[in-house]
Amino acid sequence: MTDHLRPDGATEHLRSDGAAEHLRSDGAAEQMAPASSASAEDARAMAPEAPVATAPEAPVAPLHRRLGVTDEELELIKVKLGREPNHTELAMFSVMWSEHCAYKSSKPLLKTLPTRGNGVMAGPGDNAGVVRIGDGLAVAFKIESHNHPSAVEPYQGAATGVGGILRDIFTMGARPIAVLDALRFGDPADPRTRHLVDGIVRGVGGYGNCVGVPTVGGELVFDPSYQGNPLVNVMAIGLLEEKNLILAEAPGVGNYVVLFGSRTGRDGIGGASVLASATFADDDPNKRPTVQVGDPFAEKLLIEASLELIDRRLVLGIQDLGAAGISCATSESADKAGTGILLDLDAIPRREPGMEPWEVMISESQERMLATCLPEQFPDVREVCERWGIQIALVGRVAEDGDITLIEGGLGADGTPNPGAREIARIPAKALTSEAVVHYRLATPPTRRRSAPAPGIPLTAQDGLPERGMDPAAVLVALLGSPNLSSRRWVYEQYDACVQSNTVEWPGHGAAVLRVKGTRKGLVATTDGNQTVSALDPHLGAQLSVAEATRNVSITGARPLGITNCLNYGNPERPEAFWQLQEAVRGMGDACRALGVPVTGGNVSLYNEYPGGAIAPTPEIGVVGLIDDISMLVRPPFTTEGDAVLLIGESTPGMAGSAYAALAGLSAEDSPPTLDLEREAALQSFIREAIGRGLVASAQDVSGGGLAVAIAECCMWGGLGATLRLGVSGSPAIELFGESPTRLVLSSRQRHAPALELLARQFGLHAETLGVVGGDRLRIDLTGQGATGAAEERGSRVADALDVSIADLRHTWDHGLARALGVETGHGHGPGPVVAATPGEGA
């Protein structure tokens, strides 16, 4: 149990004389969002290891340990309170001091991230990042995980993941306009994976479709490391008028504290501490009650009522109830305003009788909001809620003392406890939130930095595949049909993509694009996360993730406004896992500084482990960009026969972590490609400039599957072939299928090609014209000095040409995913999960 001692031996944490100051040494505002923003994720401490009810003769662990509070944390709680906590207080601390709510392991790392930037109105520490976009408007966005709940109960876990992130958005005063879902699973052929994919996709769709927010993009990735621990990361985007920005605070002593939305039940008890903050044995039925149950219909009403309350200035502060429920919403709101809250337990509407006070305080029942209003405005607040059919209750008053105080016996009209009322809990709000425990974990690089080749993979270099007589077109076809690179159509056709009439670009062809009604502006959004390189080098993996996500936005002509991140890592108490997190945060910060993009928020999901091992470290990056004139938007597909095709940027060696390596094997000594952040920044500036000057007809970046896949996508999506010549200086495999970053495939009118090349060189970038768009085949001749032919002269062929019909590419790409999941043969077409009280899938 050395986990939360500082590496430098700060055992003084545990002294009783002012130890609080040491434990909470950073004193900074939370770097990441308030915990309530999440519905309880990752951990669950209702005793992950506690032998509570198993063997009758086994000694029962002390209550605090069964709640996931360590002995050392208990000592600190006593210091904070100046006495022993009672059961209710201990339960409140257990959820608020969970990894999920307190960021107790990650906080020291996260505060190193760059968070300031042009137009940032709200950032880490608020429910969502908010950035101005002009015309008096702003955009709110945030990504969050719901990994463990989705592993336990895929439909509800994913559905409530959507619900939770949407609440983070409208809590800021923004109307949710889009969702993106980044999903990661194990082997697609495995029945359990198929069960999870089916339930999670249905859950995302079931919630988003009903609540009326389009799902416009995301990711679906298969990697063996997620076999026992799938990842469900959901990003939401909202649009607001700047003047409607509102914070989660409870200002003004004597003001009313109201709770509205669904009633409080026993679902999701301890979600933050049990599910979200401990490692995980799969299929543990005892954890099912810790998963919340979502009701998108209730959420839809909550959105409308909340936005009306905010727009009419009827509430002074508003906070959603997510992880740690009422405990979190009250303590965060009070702490932010420098106040306390006197809470009337009897006034809190319950779903069932007989709930214990601690259950009420930490329940994670969904679709609830806490707000503060002036007493004289309460009748109006009630009218709005009742018109939308939402229950509302006056549950407390803003207090001066800085404490969250829970009483039983009711409050009088003057806001003071009735005679005979009993105090059940009293905790300083700060002790639960901004002054929660912080652990300085040990970080140790692993001794073995990368995994050995899989069994059966030859240990010799396979880079030269095409020139050894193998048809490069066959490799391309295999890549395009592979589970990770084939069309995601089977998934996104289950999501309403166009409700609200803003969707300019439907899912499937690069970044999502939304118009902003009443303006010429557009918003461009994407999520990207590179887990394969992160598994080898977490610092580089995080940098690559930021680079790719921002690049995907820049190639449309949009300027990235900020990033939100979801850091999915292993158990921080393991020094190797904590090192991965530390390196990832460092890499993300380096990339964001180099690219001039602020981090506006995010979420940390730790303990992503299961008995079979830990997940590949997964830094999921969400980006929203702004394009000032949407008529200038550029997309990846080739548009016009006869256009020139250009390659910007140069390939660098290193195939490790690539889709090609997964397909063809890899030499043991190969490494991932490198990333030059300065060059990346130049590339993104270049493409925005080129698009702004109207020189670009289409733009695609080189990522998964390499240049050949990027070009194939331009062809398939545009329904046009191309005839190209590619100079090969190293190995044809690296040129065609290597995934070195900072490269683009552009097409332009022939007359613009020279200007484009010149502009690229002005930005210090390599540029060459590869050929011309046209026909119904993709042909790439490989010329120059290849790995096999030192004697060959420049211009001569070094390998067989890649030559394949677009129809063939399209066919394999189109059907790859459904084939991998076995859903085209009738499997997976069975009835959906039978879930009581789930809205229909009607329309």
Partner: protein, 248 residues
């Protein structure tokens, strides 16, 4: 002229109907589900969404709402009512149009662009269409059109089948397993009208493809048909059509 758009709790495509009507130059009037008063509008759109959460079955609770009383009266007097997606389900549950909408044959929610073709061009809901297939989105889990054989024959004979799911060449995708028939609808039916012809519903969303920036404005052909018909009906002094008139 003003056209009403009903908001049930859980309606979510009401904003799309509102947007398309505005694009068509009509003032949309939002009608709240709790009142049977239609505020004197010249036509009503029942929008997509999940009215009352679509609990039990899509559209079945909405049928009993006060506003539906107003709409039944309005329809009986010849007023034009267009139900889109969930609105179609509500009309079917209310027996204002024939048939029922079952779960999609795939048993999955389906969101994609489909091609539909008007089957007659003299209906109030199609007369401004050019007769070619239009490409508009569907977004539903329960859109498989079903009616018994006798009813199908009757609506076919009466010309109540207004739109069918079609291939690119305009031929109907009659086989329920044809990929161009996205939900397995019988006889490829995408939308129908009542016998009088003044109440119609369809599963696809014309209002969501009402501007070029959204992909195409082909859906506007249908919206414009409604708007122009409502204007004519208003100009003619709100005539009550006889059944014989509508059924040619």
């Amino acid at each position: 002229m003003r056209i009403g758009v009903v908001t049930f709790p859980g309606s979510n495509s009401d904003v799309d109907a509102q947007n398309a009507l505005s694009v068509a130059g009509v003032e949309p009037v939002m009608l709240w589900h709790e009142s049977p008063d239609l505020a004197g509008v010249s036509a009503v759109v029942l929008p997509g969404g999940f009215a009352y959460g679509d609990y039990i079955r899509a559209g079945v609770i909405a049928r009993f709402s006060p506003v539906m009383r107003g709409i039944s009266d309005f329809a009986a007097k010849g007023g034009l009512v267009l139900g889109i997606c969930n609105g179609f389900q509500v009309l079917a549950e209310s027996r204002l149009v024939p048939g029922a909408l079952l779960r999609n044959r795939s048993l999955r929610f389906a969101s994609k662009i489909v091609a539909i073709k008007p089957q007659r061009l003299d209906s109030p809901f199609t007369h401004a269409m050019d007769g070619n297939p239009i490409h508009i989105p569907i977004a539903h889990g329960e859109g498989c059109y079903y009616a018994d054989e006798a009813t199908l024959n009757e609506i076919e004979r009466n010309g109540q089948i207004l739109w069918r799911y079609v291939h690119e060449d305009g031929t109907p995708a009659l086989d329920p397993d044809d990929p161009s028939n996205p939900n397995g609808s019988l006889r490829a039916i995408a939308g129908v009208s009542n016998a009088a012809g003044n109440v119609a519903g369809l599963m696809p969303h014309p209002e969501r493809m009402s501007e070029g920036i959204l992909g195409t404005d082909e859906g506007m052909q249908l919206i414009r048909s409604l708007v122009e018909s409502a204007k004519s009906w208003e100009a003619a002094g709100r005539p009550v059509p006889t059944k014989a008139e509508a059924v040619k």
